[in-house]
C-alpha cells in the first residue's frame, strides 16, 4: 500500500452530531452508532458533548447523559476503532480528560480558537505523557491569514501534537482557502495535518477532498452529515469518494452506508440541510453550533435569525460565545420596539 494514499477518518457523529440533537443522544443510540462505526472499521470514534468534555451547561445545553456514562456504553462495544474525546481548554479541564482516559479514550482531541493555541499546552502535554495520540484543532481557521495559523500550529506541534487540524467551524471556507492553509502546514511542519469541515456553503465534501489533495491525512466526518449548522462531511460519502479516487480508508463501504441510513437518519430531529440560516452561518463566518441556540433565542425575542447571525459575524465572536446570541437578539428586539 502506498502510505500517501492512506487516509484516517475520525467519525464525530457522537460529538459534532450531538449539537444537532441538542445533546440528547440516548445511551442505546450511542451504543448502536459506536458499534456500527466499529464494525465498519472507522479509525476513531469521537464521543463528547458538542462543546467537548464538561460542555454540559446552560451556556451550551444540558446533555442527557454524563461524559462518563456515554463513554462507558461505547467502551463495551469497541474492539477495532479507537475512542476519542474532545476537550476545549476554558470549558473542560485536565481532570475531565483524565477521567475519560480511565474510561478508555485512546486519542485526545484538544481544540482552541485559531489564535489561542498556547492555552492548550498543559492538556496536550498531559495526554502525551499518558500515552495518548493527540490531535489538535485550530478552530474558526477562516478568521486568520494562513501565516498566523501556521504560527499557532507550530506551537501545538511543539507541545507534542501528533496531528494538527485546520477546522472550518463556520463552514465558511471555499476550496482555495482550504488548499492554501493545508498546503502551508504540510510544507512547514513535520506532523500530520487534518481537516474538519462544515457544509454551510455546501462545500464539506469538496473542501475535505481539497484538503486531502494538499496532503491532509486525517479527516472528520459524521454519519448522514449529522452536525452543527448544515452539518459535516458525511462519513459514508467521504468513504465512497476517497475509494473512487484511489485512497485507502479501511472503511467497509456498505456497512458505513447502512449505519448512516438505518441508524442515524431515523433519529435526526430535523433534516440535515442547508436552510437559509445555516447558509448565513457560512456566509457570515459564524460558529456552526450557534444555529440551534439562535433559533431558540429568536423565538423569545421575535427577531430574524439571519440578522442575529450577521451581527454576531460582525462582532467577530468566537466559538463558545453562545451567550452573545442572547445579547444580540435582546439588543435587536429593543431597537425594533423603540
Amino acid at each position: 500500500m502506498n502510505m500517501n494514499r492512506r487516509i484516517r477518518i475520525v467519525d464525530t457523529t457522537l460529538r459534532d452530531g450531538s449539537h444537532a440533537v441538542k445533546h440528547q443522544f440516548e445511551l442505546e443510540d450511542i451504543e448502536r452508532i459506536t458499534s456500527a462505526l466499529n464494525n465498519a472499521n472507522v479509525y476513531a470514534i469521537e464521543i463528547s458533548h458538542g462543546d467537548g468534555l464538561a460542555g454540559s451547561s446552560i451556556q451550551y445545553g444540558w446533555a442527557k447523559h454524563s461524559d462518563d456514562a456515554r463513554l462507558a456504553v461505547a467502551q463495551k462495544v469497541v474492539d477495532r476503532s479507537k475512542i476519542t474525546v474532545l476537550l476545549l481548554p476554558g470549558i473542560g479541564t485536565r481532570d475531565d480528560l483524565k477521567l475519560s482516559i480511565e474510561r478508555g479514550a485512546q486519542v485526545a482531541r484538544i481544540a482552541t480558537h485559531v489564535t489561542e493555541a498556547d492555552i492548550s499546552e498543559q492538556h496536550i502535554r498531559m495526554a502525551k505523557d499518558m500515552g495518548l495520540e493527540v490531535m489538535t484543532f485550530l478552530m474558526l481557521a477562516h478568521m486568520e491569514p494562513p501565516e498566523k495559523m501556521l504560527e499557532q500550529a507550530k506551537l501545538m506541534e511543539g507541545y507534542g501534537a501528533d496531528v494538527v487540524y485546520v477546522v472550518d467551524s463556520a463552514g465558511a471556507m471555499i476550496p482555495d482557502d482550504v488548499k492554501v492553509r493545508i498546503g502551508l502546514l504540510k510544507k512547514k511542519m513535520q506532523v500530520e495535518v487534518g481537516f474538519h469541515g462544515h457544509n454551510n456553503l455546501g462545500l464539506a465534501i469538496g473542501n475535505t477532498i481539497a484538503a486531502v489533495q494538499e496532503g491532509a491525512t486525517v479527516i472528520d466526518g459524521t454519519l448522514g452529515g449529522l452536525g452543527a449548522g448544515a452539518g459535516n462531511a458525511p462519513t459514508e460519502v467521504l468513504a465512497a469518494v476517497l475509494d473512487k479516487m484511489g485512497y485507502v480508508t479501511g472503511i467497509d463501504l456498505y456497512k458505513i452506508m447502512d449505519a448512516a441510513e438505518d441508524i442515524v437518519r431515523p433519529i435526526m430531529r430535523r433534516p440535515q440541510v442547508i436552510d437559509r440560516s445555516s447558509l448565513i452561518l457560512g456566509y457570515a463566518g459564524v460558529y456552526s453550533s450557534f444555529l440551534l441556540h439562535t433559533y431558540r433565542a429568536v423565538e423569545k425575542f421575535d427577531v430574524d435569525p439571519r440578522d442575529v447571525l450577521v451581527e454576531l459575524g460582525r462582532r467577530r465572536v468566537v466559538g463558545g460565545q453562545e451567550d452573545m446570541i442572547i445579547d444580540v437578539a435582546h439588543e435587536l428586539s429593543q431597537k425594533k420596539n423603540r
Binding site: 451547561s57 476554558g90 470549558i91 489561542e116 498556547d118 492555552i119 498543559q122 463558545g320 451567550d323
Partner: protein, 293 residues
C-alpha cells in the same frame, strides 16, 4: 492621626503590579508604597517605580525584610507566593494574594471582607470571580441558588502567560468561589478568549438556577450590588437582565477598566487590582486603628 499611612510593598512588577502601583499612588487614603520588588534588573515595572520615586529591588522577596512593611500585594505566581508567604508571616506583613495560591480565604470586597479583616493572608480568587461572584451573592441574598454558571469573555490581549498556562486553575478556582463566596450550591465557570481588534471589553454572563425567581427582589438586590462594586470599579455595568425563564435567571455585565496603567478593555485585570486595593484600604484602616488604639 488621619495623616498616617501604612507602608505597602508590591511584589511582582509586571502589568498587574504596575497597575496596582498607580492605583495606590492616585487614590489610596491609608497606604503609601514603600517598595516594589522584582527579580530582573531590566524590569520595566521597576524602572517606572523608580521614576516615581518608589524604592525598588530586583533581588526578590528578601528585600522586604526589616523595613517595617505592613501590607504586601503579591502579584507573582502561585509557586512564588508559597515562598513569599513564609517571609510575610515572619515579618508580620499582611499579604494580599493576587495569585491562584489561595493560602488564605477567598475574599471579594463587597461580600465577605469584614469577616476576614483580621486575617494575615487574603486571596483574590480570580478576575472572573471578582466580576461575577458579586452578582451570584446578590441573588443568593434573596433566594436559594442551586447552581451558578458564569461565562467570562476577555480580550486575548488581556490574558497574560500566567492565565494562559494555567487556564484550568481559572475555571476550577472560579467555580469554587461561586460556591464558597457566592453562596451557590454548585458552581461552574467557563472562560473564553476573543482576539477581536479593537479588543473587546470584558463581558460576563451569569446564569443561576434559583428557588424563587422573583423579578423585583432579584432586580433590586443586583442593582444595589452593582452600585457597591462601582465604588471601586466605576466601569462595572449591567448590560442585560435579569432575564427570567422558569427558575433560570440570566444576567450579563461588562467591565471596563479605569485605564490607570492597563488599557480600559482589560476590565478583567482592572477588577482584580481594584478589588485588591479596596481590600488593602480596609485592612490598612484597620491596622491604623489598631496602632492608634
Amino acid at each position: 492621626m488621619r495623616e498616617r499611612k501604612v507602608k505597602a510593598a508590591i511584589i511582582g512588577p509586571g502589568n498587574i503590579g504596575t497597575d496596582l502601583m498607580y492605583k495606590i499612588m492616585k487614590r489610596s487614603k491609608y497606604m503609601e508604597i514603600d517598595l516594589m520588588i522584582g527579580i530582573y534588573p531590566s524590569s520595566e515595572g521597576l524602572k517606572r517605580a523608580n521614576t516615581l520615586g518608589i524604592n525598588t529591588s530586583h533581588e526578590g522577596i528578601e528585600a522586604v525584610k526589616g523595613r517595617g512593611i505592613d501590607i504586601a500585594f503579591d502579584a507573582t505566581s502561585a509557586a512564588a507566593h508559597l515562598q513569599n508567604a513564609q517571609v510575610f508571616e515572619v515579618e508580620g506583613i499582611v499579604a494580599i494574594d493576587l495569585t491562584p495560591a489561595a493560602l488564605g480565604p477567598y475574599v471579594c470586597p463587597v461580600i465577605n471582607l469584614n469577616e476576614h479583616i483580621e486575617r494575615k493572608n487574603i486571596n483574590l480568587i480570580t478576575c472572573g470571580g471578582q466580576a461575577t461572584i458579586p452578582i451570584v451573592a446578590a441573588i443568593s441574598a434573596v433566594t436559594k441558588v442551586h447552581y451558578a454558571e458564569i461565562v467570562a469573555t476577555i480580550a486575548s490581549r488581556s490574558a497574560g502567560p500566567g492565565t494562559r498556562q494555567n487556564i484550568d486553575e481559572f475555571t476550577k478556582t472560579t467555580a469554587r468561589g461561586l460556591e464558597v463566596v457566592g453562596g451557590a450550591e454548585r458552581g461552574k465557570a467557563i472562560i473564553i478568549l476573543n482576539p477581536a481588534e479593537p479588543p473587546i471589553i470584558m463581558r460576563d454572563t451569569i446564569y443561576t438556577i434559583v428557588d424563587n425567581p422573583d423579578r423585583e427582589w432579584i432586580e433590586e438586590s443586583v442593582r444595589s450590588m452593582i452600585a457597591k462594586v462601582q465604588v471601586y470599579v466605576p466601569g462595572y455595568r449591567l448590560r442585560v437582565g435579569p432575564l427570567i425563564d422558569d427558575k433560570q435567571v440570566t444576567i450579563m455585565i461588562e467591565v471596563e477598566g479605569a485605564g490607570d496603567f492597563l488599557p480600559t478593555y482589560s476590565g478583567n485585570l482592572d477588577i482584580e487590582t481594584s478589588a485588591a486595593v479596596a481590600i488593602g484600604e480596609k485592612v490598612s484602616e484597620n491596622i491604623l486603628k489598631g496602632k492608634a488604639g
